[in-house]
């Protein structure tokens, strides 16, 4: 289990993490989303032992991450700006990783060579950005980690390779119980793979739920009110509303059944509950946190 509790990290007085807390169950795929500058990468650098929090705790499997070499042998990470030695080939980097990760599997490395199909003798800096990302996955997955921490992992990968990479990771999750924490702006993709989601803003995790809970907690309704009723009744707890012709689109923080029951009292001509996408949830949750989504029209 990955557990962050009240983590605070300040850079020259600016709080990049301001009491962030999250909890990732073992064997789950956790999507960390948030606007630019929310603190996602900072949090991930704490999880990989690069940064040390000013206060709070950052733990994995019950142990503090900071300076725990034993624990870090079970953690592989792919940052958004993965580093490799300037003159190193893929094989050189493989030897380097193998020297640090005791569970590094050469056998898996050889098998993944067929998946990624990149000449391992090539200097990494001569590869395209997408191929460099593939190399990062190749090596990280060969480390046989219990925890996989990914920051914008599939940026630069083509759609086929994205699917391939996710498939490999999902295989690890199901077969080895790997816990994956992934930060991404590609919410549609996360929606397909994540079973838990945390939304970050201003250095805090605003909410974290399972995807099902999240989707059950907010609903999008398309409503046509009876003649003479042109405005949404003000007493309704609506997060956001818009109107095209007579059709009102309402976002309400409650489940579909409860929302439908509340609207029935106004005798609508039409009430249709539509599940929200993760992207919509993200936008409206952050809208509640003063995020500038007021002008976004669905």
């Amino acid at each position: 289990m990955i557990e962050v509790k009240d983590a605070v990290k300040r850079f020259d007085g600016f709080a990049a993490l301001d009491g962030a807390s999250l909890s990732v169950p073992d064997g789950s795929v956790y999507g960390l989303v948030g606007p630019n500058g929310a603190g996602k990468s900072t949090l991930i650098r704490h999880l990989t032992g690069i940064y040390r929090q000013d206060s709070g705790t950052v733990r994995m499997g019950g142990a503090d991450v900071w300076e725990d070499a034993e624990l870090k042998r079970r953690v592989a990470a792919i940052p958004d700006d993965w580093y490799y030695f300037n003159q190193a080939s893929i094989r050189d980097m493989m030897r380097f990783y193998r020297g640090f990760y005791p569970r590094f599997s050469v056998e898996r490395y050889e098998k993944l060579k067929e998946v990624f199909n990149i000449d391992e003798k090539k200097t990494i800096r001569r590869l395209s950005k997408g191929m460099q990302k593939q190399v990062a996955f190749w090596l990280a997955l060969s480390c046989m980690p219990d925890y996989l921490i990914l920051d914008e992992p599939v940026d630069g990968l083509d759609p086929v390779m994205r699917r391939q990479v996710w498939s490999l990771m999902m295989g690890d999750v199901s077969e080895r119980g790997t816990t994956v924490l992934v930060s991404s702006h590609n919410l549609r993709e996360l929606e397909d793979v994540c079973d838990h989601v945390g939304i970050m803003d201003h250095g805090r995790v605003l909410l974290e739920r399972s995807l099902a809970q999240l989707q059950d907690n907010m609903v999008k309704l398309q409503v046509v009110f009876p003649d003479g009723m042109t405005e949404v009744p003000p007493e309704l707890p609506v997060l956001h509303s818009s109107r095209i012709g007579r059709i009102h689109t309402l976002i309400m923080r409650m489940n579909a059944q409860e929302a439908t029951e509340r609207l029935t009292g106004y005798h609508p001509m039409l009430v249709d509950a539509v599940p929200l996408t993760l992207e919509e949830i993200f936008i409206y949750e952050l809208g509640g946190a003063d995020y500038a989504v007021k002008d976004i029209v669905l």
Binding site: R52, L71, K72, R73, D81, W82, Y83, F100, V106, E107
Partner: protein, 659 residues
């Protein structure tokens, strides 16, 4: 699916062989090139030996080869280690200065201690490999030519290890103070030479304000500039024996200096610096434990060091830039030997402000540092004004200070081309004369400055001499003074003036004997040099020749034909055109450190009246009737009236004439 897992990890996390090997393989061009350059030394030695043996010279012996080792340790090792250590530190600690690389290294399953130790050992290995290559080839050479000396080799290895540890330790400490790869060498070299730079700056600054303060480098805290200190303190000391040889074919006897003993003086200094290197490594390790990865890219990575950097740079800029601006503008505009307080405050304030804001911009990595910084700037400006004010009014009381006799261990006096050392126990009266002279000079400060400012050049009745005094006190401190003293014949005749006191001191009988170190068991004539203008030939004199000349000079002193200094005579037309210098070797307390031969040298003007000395030189075959020509005979064109007049106007140099 099950994956076979292979364990390749070493059990300890304090050292990682993969990283060690990776460092060496990544940066092989650095240590490879250094090794190649190092290997050229024994190769050159070999080629030289082959040439010399072809010419019939004997091969090196063990002592001379050890002297070669020690010479390398004394004169080359500190400089090479200084430069090479920072290159090695830059490559192994480079990952700290880039957020991507620091991210990779710190996310690896190895503790900071492991990274530190592995990278430190990698850097030391890179540093030592070229020495091993060079040393190994030198050992092969010495075995080949039978000049192997185990003691010499062991001492050299110890010195190399000690200095390498120190330099790499200091480079490592600096590496953890900074967060930028360009700041690393900049701060490293600044710190290594800061003491020397500050010494020079403070001396130059004090000299500009305070009458009599020597503007020379004092060397008081030279140990804080290790390269300079090592170069001066760690040196081979050789003992030579003068052996007479006879050429069989001609029967001619000649003397040869044969090396009989060599040792490396000051090896303990290397040991102390090696310990300091260990301490710095420990500090670096402590800094690494607390280092924040996010400091990658910052000029200064350690928070508490930031104000020190800001105000230190401001102070350095204020001193260095202040003097430069003052010399450039005010000095050129107004002239004068001493600084004026107000213009100097303005110059220092301008330079200090530049330094302060420059440092602030480097720390903030932004040009927008002006808002809210006025307090720091005000502090810098106040410090500049306070410093100038304190020196202008001599608040430390430097100008009037004359050390009491009981404080003094020795006094060095340099005047009119000669130097003298006084010991209070044996020369109480002479030392008191020196103190009285010093007090008289200090008392006449204002009139001396006035005469200096209105000085127009030497005449037959007026001249200028430089007098330097160095008191070594019993508490280990030194008081150094340097005065440019205008002298006039009228005042020299008046009792109590500094001119009168100076003449009485220098031309006293005791000082004449002292000048030649007669009856002084601590000094022996070590050799000399003679140059004959007449036929443009020069001779190196051995110790026997120098001793014979010295004895003859002593007889001339007794007859009064040498030794009295004439302050106002600048005409040498009647002197023989022969330059004669004698060197003394100090055989006194060896703990005083190596003898600076240049200070133990005396120049002798040869005049026709010095019959004993001339007879001695003739006997030694150093001069003949043909070569004993006066300057007037040899260069008559220099002594016609017109040339004389021009020379008098242009001459500013002070010449020492003994007649």
């Amino acid at each position: 699916m099950s994956w076979e897992v292979r364990t390749m990890q070493s059990k300890t996390s304090y050292f990682n062989g993969t990283l060690f090997r990776r460092n060496l393989s990544r940066f092989w061009p650095l240590w490879g090139l250094a090794s190649f350059l190092g290997a050229l030394v024994p190769l050159a030695l070999l080629l030289q030996t082959l040439r010399r043996s072809a010419e019939g010279y004997p091969a090196e012996n063990a002592l001379s080869f050890t002297n070669f080792y020690y010479g390398a340790v004394g004169y080359a090792l500190p400089v090479i280690s200084l430069l090479y250590a920072i290159l090695c530190a830059m490559v192994v600690w480079n990952y700290l200065y880039n957020s991507r690389s620091v991210g990779l290294m710190h996310s690896l399953p190895i503790r900071r201690e492991g990274l530190f130790l592995t990278n430190f050992l990698s850097g030391m290995a890179m540093l030592l490999i070229p020495y091993v290559v060079t040393g190994g080839l030198c050992v092969l050479y010495s075995l080949l030519y039978g000049c192997f000396d185990l003691t010499g080799l062991a001492v050299t290895v110890a010195a190399v290890l000690g200095e390498s540890l120190f330099y790499f330790g200091s480079a490592t400490l600096v590496a953890f103070l900074v967060g930028n790869v360009f700041a690393l060498p900049a701060l490293y070299f600044l710190l290594h030479f800061l003491a020397v730079l500050l010494d020079w700056l403070v001396s130059a600054f004090s000299r500009g304000f305070l009458f009599g303060v020597s503007g020379d480098y004092s060397g008081t805290v030279e140990w804080l500039s290790p390269t300079v200190y090592l170069l001066r303190r760690v040196q081979p000391v050789c003992t030579y024996e003068e052996v007479s040889r006879r050429t069989e074919s001609t029967g001619e006897i000649w003397y040869e200096h044969v090396l009989t003993e060599v040792h490396l003086e000051g090896l303990w200094v290397v040991g102390v610096y090696a310990l300091a290197g260990l301490v710095m490594l420990a500090l670096a390790w402590l800094l690494y434990r607390r280092r924040r990865s996010e400091s990658a890219g910052d000029v200064v990575a350690v928070g508490p060091v930031k104000p020190l950097f800001r105000f230190g740079l401001a102070a350095l800029a204020a001193l260095l830039g202040g003097i430069a601006l003052y010399e450039l503008f005010w000095q050129n505009l107004t002239g004068g030997r001493y600084f004026e307080a107000l213009p100097m405050v303005v110059c220092m304030a301008a330079a200090g402000a530049i330094g302060y804001y420059g440092a602030s911009m480097l720390l903030a990595k932004s040009l927008r540092v002006f808002r809210g910084s006025w307090k720091g700037l005000a502090l810098v400006l106040c410090a500049c004004a306070a410093l100038c004010g304190a020196l202008e009014f001599d608040l430390p009381g430097v100008e009037k200070r004359v050390p009491e006799q009981e404080e003094v261990e020795t006094v060095d006096l340099q005047v009119a081309g000669n130097s003298y050392t006084f010991y209070p126990e044996e020369e109480e009266a002479l030392l008191e004369q020196v103190r009285t002279l010093h007090s008289a000079i200090a008392a006449e400060r204002d009139s001396i400055i006035e005469r200096q400012e209105s000085w127009w050049g030497e005449t037959d009745r007026e001249t200028m001499v430089r007098l330097r005094l160095t008191y070594r006190l019993k508490n280990g401190r030194m008081v150094k003074r340097s005065y440019d003293l205008p002298l006039s014949q009228e005042r020299m005749a008046q009792a109590g003036t500094y001119e009168n006191l100076l003449d009485a001191l220098i031309n006293g009988e005791a000082m004449k004997a002292k000048r030649l170190h007669l009856n002084d068991p601590e000094y022996q004539a070590a050799g000399g040099y003679l140059y004959r203008n007449a036929d443009n030939r020069d001779f190196d004199l051995n110790s026997r020749e120098a001793a014979a000349i010295l004895e003859a000079l002593g007889q001339d002193v007794q007859e009064g034909t040498w030794g009295t200094h004439d302050w106002f005579t600048h005409d040498n037309r009647n002197d023989y055109a022969v330059d004669l210098n004698l060197y003394f070797h100090q055989t006194g307390d060896p703990e005083d450190g190596p003898v600076d031969v240049a200070e133990e040298r005396i120049s002798i003007r040869l005049r026709p009246a010095m019959r004993h000395t001339i007879a001695c030189l003739r006997e030694l075959g150093l001069v003949t009737e043909d070569t004993l020509r006066t300057y007037g005979e040899l260069y008559p064109e220099d002594f016609d009236e017109a040339a004389d007049a021009i020379a008098q106007e242009d001459t500013v140099a002070v010449t020492a004439v003994y007649s």
